[in-house]
Symmetry: D2
């Protein structure tokens, strides 16, 4: 069995999830006729951005709080190719983490509901001077509290 | 100490390496003023393509042999940002592997010679029908033999 | 008054049109906070691809007929910027042309229905040897005939 | 004979020019095996950025002066395709203009010195509030003066 990217921890809230629908665009396909591997970070970002705005903590919300959240790690496992005009979904899962750290998992499925791609990203929360925030900032703690209370749906 | 992506195996040849020089282009920078994380697969590819052609086994050489080598896994660790017009180098390391599998490691350094980014890619060799080649094809075994003989420089 | 990209010719059928909806993605925005000008060819292509498939003459249909239709000319006039997460529409207009030539016009509008961008593309039909098709191929003449008959809706 | 994009005006200084060398990257090639037309704005920008920094008026110099110079018009004429790993040059020509307007022309040539692509861009100078600068700002007038004096080499 596949090892999970972010093993579940007992007593923590389940991930926040959603699915984004997409179609492969012509410019995303390479000379071999499949989506070029370097396009997948943008597919992942579609789900990450959608999760942020759906649950009230988007890129611009961080920015407005003087916090930046650059990608620290990105990992992509390719299982099946995608081709021009193929429809697929990007499932994004925002995994619970109490540290100043954002853990996202991504699962792409083609129209036959086969998993084509899996991956994850890890972001650190930094202040305006690009120093790591060891303690999560108040607006992020509030977000975690609402998550724990089951208010994020 | 950092765990190596591809631990060294006693008695195997050292990696094939080279460095590519690059400068950050305007379109690679995001709204926050740093290189968007999704551009790094293209930086990695610059070194991977250069290694292939330098050592006689490029994308088109595989293709001419009826073999495709899609990316199976891509992993990127970000340590420092890069900014518009910044000069940097991409070191590519092709790690020895006797299976039908291509293991590349990448190290980006800024002009102060600080490591900004590390990562790796794994490719599988597939035949025309996209079946995995369990046994490495003859042209790849020849390549490995020349590598072992120290003929690839 | 603005000069039309493709002046109307009396007695010819009106353009085929449709609108595609889009939202600005994070990676499309540059360091100044607006969509980088070089992303617009991909917005135009969204409408061109959609028109092709909606009216039965897509990229792959040409390809299946041994015909390629590379872009000969691309022109873009920018009137207003677009920003991250902004919703906009891309209107595509396929203008009638009896020669072996595809003329598309594009109009982007923001959510206030203001025109942000206008432009056009011209494609030549080429055969497998990349020679210009002086006479339109049969499948393209059939397409024109159905257009003239008002069958393309 | 081809009509020039920016007709020469008697008594004005010749354009500022330079050439940038480039090689087609794998991700720039489309499913048909040629450089996707939407990559050319980035090739043009390579020459535009290089001209700006070579002659002392780069993107960041404008920005430091509180001036932005967004692209108003972009035009591309494709004459021949470019393919993976092909070497080519991008000639940039900065045409004299006394208004608050930047006119650039671009000529791409393959390794056989054949012209593959031509085009131009027009930029307007705007202030911090995105209002058009009717009168060129002092630092730009100084730049024009040095150009007229033949000091930009």
């Amino acid at each position: 069995m596949r090892k999970p990217y972010f093993p579940a921890v007992d007593g923590t809230p389940p991930p926040l999830t959603l699915r984004v629908e997409r179609e492969v665009r012509f410019e995303e396909v390479d000379a071999v006729g499949i989506v070029w591997h370097g396009r997948y970070p943008s597919y992942f970002e579609d789900a990450r951005v959608a999760l942020g705005y759906r649950f009230g903590l988007g890129y611009m919300d961080f920015y407005a709080q003087g916090v930046v959240a650059p990608i620290k790690t990105l990992h992509i496992d390719h299982l099946r190719p995608l081709r021009f005009r193929e429809s697929f979904t990007i499932e994004g899962l925002w995994h619970w983490n109490e540290a100043a750290r954002l853990n996202f998992e991504f699962i792409l499925r083609n129209s036959a509901d086969e998993i084509t791609t899996r991956g994850y990203s890890v972001q650190m929360l930094l202040d305006r001077n690009h120093e790591i925030l060891v303690v999560p900032p108040p607006f992020y703690r509030d977000f975690l509290q609402r998550w724990k209370n089951g208010e994020l749906v």
